[in-house]
Symmetry: C5
């Protein structure tokens, strides 16, 4: 579920921070806790070995390796990579959200232009919008794990009422090896055309207005699929992941406290716990987790898009619009500002 | 209230700065003053403890901790995080402003295409635009605290004249668990269609022009809601907030003046007041405050969008457009440039 | 006036630089010269005091303060702040220029679709486009100082011929506390509708084409006003201004030449004039001036938009288009490429 | 083939990394392995020469050269160049993908608006969409090596059924030295017009809707060609490539282990293998490879666009849409949500 | 001429680099060679003076100046300035290319909607598209030096066939002090309207489609002019140019090899040739040259837009489209995929 914190940050106060930080779901804490634990354990093991198991000569060598690594950590350009990569990922994420498919305009246009209070007219309105929503369900089944789990088979889609059995038959007739999510859209277009021919839509021009909204909705969903087909080249996330993890792998050595009196790189003070490196771990690893969480927002991370909730909202809203909302403007009266 | 400083910066002069800096409302001074005070007090306490309460051995340890922290402060990548995060937030803020809903075009189109000087025609024009503005009020009530405070209940909206009692009844009839801000838009669409059927709008094509402006306005408001539903994943602001605050928490230690004669890291001179760190605090904390203030611009910060003022402007302007402004072009005369 | 240098840089040559650098108007030299002079004078005063007025003990203290400041200058993150802030400002500036209002398309469409060689037809065409330009004048009076100075009162607008006296009366009838720049647009829309009713425009569809161009022009100008109402939150420019100025304030101390033989931080050589710091001052202060000049491009900086020139160009071009340019295509002949 | 890893990253888990890193095709490993091998061999040779072939005096000189180079490596600004260049390239790559040409909307519109179940109507529908796809094949032959290999001559295009022999004749009649990919589009436009004249398309307005989709598709493909004609100026990729390679060329010297006891820059410890420099090599070279792979996505890199698969998908889908999908909406029934 | 290297980089191979680097035209080598030569000569002269002409005392002073400069070079923030400035310039360049004017859609629409095989119809089609191309020629004459050289006077435009003598007369009649490139567009619009009145265009709606394409083309060209009028404020490129050149001016001193035995800053080894500074010069100066080349892409740099080639391509293609391509779709036949 998306984590909503807008209320908490709506007004900037000194304690705004703490309200934000105390959240757990979707938080940075939850994202890095496991990695951090593993890293600290490994750090501890190395530390114990260095302090107790090694003889002075081995300690010497160990200390030199530490010095060698520490002074060369800057070779790994984490800052720049993370900064630019996260920017690219945030842009993609924002775009995906914009085309994810809010069906409102289809509902409003269908309700405005497909006229009539007969049962037939109602069926036209309801089916046009239901087919659009059905297509969204079909697309989400392919890309979102949560929706797939909710609708493991087409029969569950039928059972949930998004599709009717005779529609499923027609759907199955189409033999086609790629995704068939466009089929319900074609049905919706056909119904629009029929409604025009039957006079339920009273002008060619109006018909095109309705068809246009369906087309926009469809094009958005099609691009969701297209972006699923061609993600950011794998090399780029690989590179960033690898850089962050390698950096902290090297840190396991490079950030050890050096305690020998005669070592050049003796640490100023021996605190046993690598407090500053832990902070660094949280910030860099957390930054990478931001990218990881936004790279594919159709998964099951706390902050991924809630496809199932969107489906429910869309079908409920759109049926209400074309049915209860159809042609029910209040009576015309003089408003309160009438001079 | 948004702080306007355009006049002050319209022409770049050396003293432009000072005009800007002397503002208090919405200023960086106001944003960081409390945090800075707390930080300085804590710094002072630590400083006094170090100088007076510790014995030489403890001072030694303290000084080493200071040295340890100071040399590792660069582990926290504030610059990059703030730079990229603020950029992402500024982009989002700009986009939100662009869709916040200026109703002008609806007013102008309704006044141009819904014809007639009869009372009925006036009512059509006034109601179409009022319903759009009503929808904006409903949306702002959900996302802006100031508007919520102004209109705590639907009855206050009715009392203010944006909605009439018989409209509220119709509105309440709709049973729907999500936001119902689209209902007035559907009324507006219905009225447009009716106006066309009654001949007040003289062409299908004109009707679509009016409907199109309403649709654009609605789509903008819908996205305001959608962005409220799915903010930037919480991890990202958490990360940045945490980094800035942790940095200065560590600074409390790391930036202490070291006064022992024999300390390696004895500060060049003992000024008691951490002048340079204070500057750094102002700049980094202020930079973060910029992000915090822009993250949700519907709150009550000095610089947040003035939703209430926008509502007032919209309703006043739009009623004037469709009423006093209706079909009142001046008489045609030869202009002064006529050859 | 905008400074044009496109010709100078159209082809990249080694001496391209010098052509650019020799300009004074709008130049970086002009932008920083005053600040630099003040800074150098202050620097000189401090330098003289240090070298002549202080006794050895005071010099010692002074030198330590210098050392203290110099080693902590990096606390102020000028690079990142300026880089990201200037990028945000450049984007905004570019957008503002794109919507500033070039009237060409209105002229061309009015000339194509409002037909007839009668005086009435000419008046329709001329008035439609003049009203649009009048609206631009009204908007520019509110936001641009130069235009305000050119048209201090509405009467001067009338005197200049953009508005006629009977139009001003009609304009003044509208009682409205906000900006009334939309009134002439509404007149233009009304004239378009009338022209359609009188058959000067021969199709509903053509009428909408003309109306659409007017609407685009109006929407651009409206956003100019909207952006004037809600600038970038004041905190952000404050922050950057403050950072740059504070930095160089600290530099007054931190960059003094240290001349005592026994000082740790004795400068390598005593050049008296702080040559490198001067360069730094020019670059950072100049970079900030770029942002300052572009933050509000409607002022009187050398490089601000030339609103007055734009008004003159628009009114001249558009009257020529609808009058002399009306329906005067050359005779049809076979062109030279005719096979 | 594009490498799909969306499933692997859909939910962020600690081991997400390892799933990503274990891929070989399109991976960073594959991208840098050869360069890294060459670099390591050269490094080894230099290392052996230094340790064994040089006499002490020569070693001395070598060590000084190493020191000289190492302390000046930061002169080469890899971080900034790569960060900004990769951002520019990613933006271009994203844009190219968006206009690459998904034909779905043409199919849907042709199926909705070109009416009739006669053979003639079918032929109109099929030919309109086939001509669009043919144009895509012609464009891809010019810019994608894989498509060129699949269709080395026009005759192979004919053989594959995208073009018919009598169409090829007509195509060859046009004598034109530039690319002729627009010819099939003109055929498609002509067919649309004819279909309107014959009444298969029942309204001017519908005809324009179909024509508009074809125009959008064509414009996208035209820009693919235009961007092929004018790439990012060669200087920019040259600069970045050169910087990365020069950097590591200098590193061959600068990163040698210094083993002489008396050398100032004696390495802390002699590990023989340049472990940290190897990591740096992987990250920087890999980052550049990301840019290189995305600079021209129509080549044969693992992650380049799959033009051939797109052609197959398009032709299959679009013929199915206009044929099997034509006017086959399921029977109207009450849906399950019917109250 | 634009340098095309897409083929070379289409597939990423280790030797891709070398193919890129071996190009000379438009290359980084060509861009910096002259500046580099001058810089090296000045460096050599200074070096010779220091080594031979100065007495030990002067050498001492010289060495201190070198040390002073070298340790303060970082005051000049080249990295950030170049990174952000080049990004801004690349964005502008990309935008300019997108609106430069590809005439294809005008040709296709004119050929589809202006019907008839009479000579009159042909003349309408040919003249409409020729006038658009003529306008492009007029615009390019104003902004591109190459096009200006090709068409130094209007008579040369007439001689080349883009304009006919009787059209030039009509053109010269218009007395107007600004650019008159919009005149041919107005002719094109007039012809479109006439064609509609004569029934060559068979629907108001079709007429608007043609007019719309012309308008888009015109608006693009108008913005080319507008951006020529208001470039990026001169201060910004001045700043960047100045920073780069000043940096390397200081480097002439700061990067001298110090050879005195007793100098603190004695260089590790005396290589005579400043190899690392040369590399730095190439990269920074080259980066600036990228910006310089893209700042005004209408000049005569190797990589500037080829306006003349575009004019030739446009006129050839568009005449072919409206003439040979008019209404010549192949006969309808069953395609090969017919089931």
């Amino acid at each position: 579920m998306t984590i909503n914190y807008n209320l908490a940050v709506s007004t900037s106060k000194p304690w705004t921070l703490f309200k934000l930080l105390l959240k757990w779901r979707g938080s940075i804490w939850k994202a890095v806790v496991l990695e951090l634990a593993v890293w600290l354990v490994l750090y501890g093991i190395l530390s114990v070995i260095y302090r107790t198991a090694l003889n002075p000569g081995q300690q010497r060598t160990f200390e030199r390796i530490v010095q060698y690594c520490d002074s060369r950590l800057s070779y790994i350009p984490l800052n720049f990579m993370l900064g630019f990569f996260v920017t690219a990922v945030v842009n993609r994420w924002t775009y995906l959200y914009q085309i994810i498919g809010f069906i409102d305009n289809i509902g409003l246009m269908a309700a405005e232009y497909v006229r009539g209070r007969t049962e037939q007219a109602r069926m036209y309105r309801r089916n046009i919008v239901r087919y659009c929503e059905l297509a969204q369900v079909l697309v989400f089944r392919d890309i979102s794990m949560r929706t797939r789990r909710r609708f493991p088979t087409l029969d569950t889609v039928v059972a949930a009422g998004f599709m009717m059995p005779h529609e499923k038959e027609r759907y199955d007739e189409i033999q086609y090896k790629y995704s068939k999510y466009w089929v319900p859209f074609q049905w919706a277009f056909s119904l629009t055309y029929e409604a025009r021919k039957k006079g339920l839509i009273e002008s060619d021009y109006y018909q095109v207005v309705v068809q246009d909204e369906i087309k926009k909705f469809r094009t958005g969903l099609a691009w969701i699929c297209n972006y699923d087909w061609v993600p950011i080249p794998i090399m780029y996330p690989q590179l960033v992941c690898l850089a962050v993890h390698t950096y902290f792998l090297v840190c396991l050595l490079a950030r050890q406290y050096i305690v020998s009196e005669h070592a050049d790189n003796k640490t100023e003070i021996d605190l046993y716990f690598p407090i500053m490196s832990t902070l660094q771990f949280i910030f860099y690893m957390g930054w990478m987790k931001v990218a990881e969480a936004m790279l594919n927002p159709f998964g099951e991370d706390d902050d991924d898009f809630e496809c199932n909730a969107l489906i429910d909202r869309n079908i409920t809203m759109v049926l209400m619009m074309v049915d209860q909302g159809y042609d029910r403007a209040p009576d015309l009266k003089r408003d309160d500002f009438w001079d």
